[in-house]
């Protein structure tokens, strides 16, 4: 089952990239995520592993995931090592000459071998997962734009002082 959500953020890709690559921020902006722990020495980039959990229905579902694609400022993808089968991807695309960013979050999940019951569970879970992604992007936009506004205000103050 593949679900996704997209949103436009009034902040440059560099700032949004900082959000999506920093594991410490996930618990603050990802809705439904109850765990996003680094399990490797490197905390970000290709090969970094995280233990993740998302509350869906009566259980916290997830597992160990590994970053398998890291195209700076554009794409960040992960795949599951243990736990339920999942692939996730952040797609960042520059808009308005770098002033805005189109952010897309995709999540593909399932349990191989679970048959028709598994298919049914994926369908039932999809609205909750999609809602989690949608709210996560909204929160990401709120935080990123807030940070962008603060940085702009600080720059204005610095310019005025000068």
């Amino acid at each position: 089952m593949r679900v996704g959500a997209a949103i436009d953020v009034a902040a440059p890709p560099e700032l949004v990239w900082e959000f999506v690559t920093d594991p410490a921020r996930y618990l603050h902006f990802m809705n439904g995520i109850t765990r996003w722990e680094v399990t490797t020495e490197q905390d970000r980039g290709l090969g970094a592993r995280y233990r993740t959990l998302m509350r869906v229905g009566s259980a916290e579902v997830g597992g160990l995931v590994e970053i398998v694609e890291c195209d700076a400022l554009r794409d960040l993808a992960w795949t599951s090592v243990t736990g339920i089968d999942q692939r996730g991807r952040w797609r960042l695309r520059e808009r308005a000459n770098g002033a805005r960013t189109r952010v897309e979050l995709r999540l593909q999940y399932g349990v191989a071998g679970s048959g028709i019951i598994g298919w049914l569970a994926e369908q039932v879970a999809a609205p909750a997962v999609r809602e989690n992604l949608r709210r996560s992007l909204q929160e990401l936009r709120r935080q990123a734009e807030h940070e962008q506004a603060r940085a702009a205000a600080a720059a204005r103050r610095a310019a005025a002082r000068a």
Binding site: L53, V56, G57, S58, A59, E60, V61, G62, G63, L64, T82, G83, I84, V111, A112, G113, S114, G115, I117, G118, L120, A121, E122, V124, A125
Partner: protein, 334 residues
């Protein structure tokens, strides 16, 4: 049960009497002599040994047959792939039917052996087990060894053999010890059949029937106890009574290690005697709360008193159950 079989554990590591974690009686005559007074008791026991009645021989034969159906405990029967593949079905049931909610799984140590001690509800279809085992498996991953101790009857009942793939083993000190030695998380319900069939009006009472074996087990293996408190399971049917007197009369204890013959009103049977075939549980909301781990020797000193630990566990769990009960507005709905 004859003297020979009573003096050693069955091949599945199971004992026939009392607390599954208590030491087994040395033999039947000794057990009886202990209960009797002095020399009269000894003489009485001697007479019984010399002339077992036909009824006793018959009971012994049936009991041996029943025990023979309990599969030998083999921890390797747990199958993580099978568990993973059946998680979606469990999730559907737990989420849609029971609206399960499990809190505090972070209190379970991340790795290593641990004894999870739970209160048990719901008759022979304990929904709290389903909700908790699902949550445990998704939280820690099916790769983490996790065994649940179950009543003989569950393991020997035709058609329920697949439960062994989830890690179910017969409740006995040997099986629990083996699982803990393997570094597994072990889930035990000390109240067992006594607690699971309690009347509905005692739904919010933790009742382990004084069974302290789990404390001795945790001390012996120096593993932490993690209390697991569940509510809602006893609302899946209307439980009227345990029928302990009838069970004694029918010698179910000696035959199947069953101390109860419960009476309930349940779907689809209406009046349900014994609950042997299970029932369709009502969609009661199940809430489970996992409490902080109790490191026995850190908390109670180098040589903890079993009764003190038992009282502490019961009190802690009862307080949590009271708090969970106060959150519920209506039965079943939660």
């Amino acid at each position: 049960m004859d003297t020979e079989t009573a003096s050693r554990p069955a091949r599945n590591g199971h004992h026939a009497y009392g607390d599954p974690f208590a030491a087994p009686p040395r033999d039947r005559t000794q057990a009886r002599a202990t209960r009797a007074d002095g020399a009269d008791g000894d003489r009485d026991a001697e007479n019984r040994r010399s002339a077992p009645s036909t009824l006793e021989r018959l009971v012994g034969a049936i009991a041996r047959g029943a025990r023979g159906r309990v599969p030998a405990a083999d921890l390797d029967e747990r199958d993580p792939d099978f568990i993973r593949e059946t998680l979606p079905g469990q999730w559907l049931l737990a989420s849609l039917w029971f609206r399960g909610e499990v809190r505090g799984l972070g209190n379970v140590p991340e790795d290593g052996p641990v004894l999870l001690v739970g209160n048990h509800s719901g008759g022979n279809v304990p929904a709290d087990s389903l909700v908790f085992t699902l949550a445990f498996s998704t939280y820690f991953g099916v790769e983490r060894r996790f065994h649940q101790l179950a009543h003989n009857l569950v393991l020997s009942f035709p058609g329920l053999g697949f439960l062994r793939k989830y890690g179910l083993v017969a409740a006995s000190p040997e099986n629990a010890a083996e699982a803990l030695r393997c570094g597994a998380a072990v889930l035990v319900y000390p109240g067992g059949d006594h607690e699971v069939h309690r009347p509905s009006w005692q739904a919010h009472t933790v009742n382990f029937a004084g069974r302290r074996g789990f404390v001795r087990l945790a001390l012996e293996h120096d593993v932490p106890i993690v209390p697991v408190v569940a509510i809602g399971g006893q609302e899946t049917a209307l439980f009227l009574g345990r029928g302990e007197g009838v069970a004694r009369l029918l010698m179910l204890d000696r035959l199947f290690r069953l101390k109860v013959l419960p009476l309930s009103i349940a779907v689809p049977w209406g009046l349900n005697v014994g609950d042997f075939l299970g029932h369709v549980p009502l969609p009661a909301k199940i809430t489970v709360e996992v409490l902080p781990a109790i490191a026995l020797r850190e908390q109670f000193g180098p040589d903890p008193d079993v009764d003190e630990v038992y009282d502490h566990v019961i009190t802690t769990m009862q307080e949590t159950l009271d708090a969970l009960a106060s959150e519920r507005r209506l039965p079943i709905i939660g």
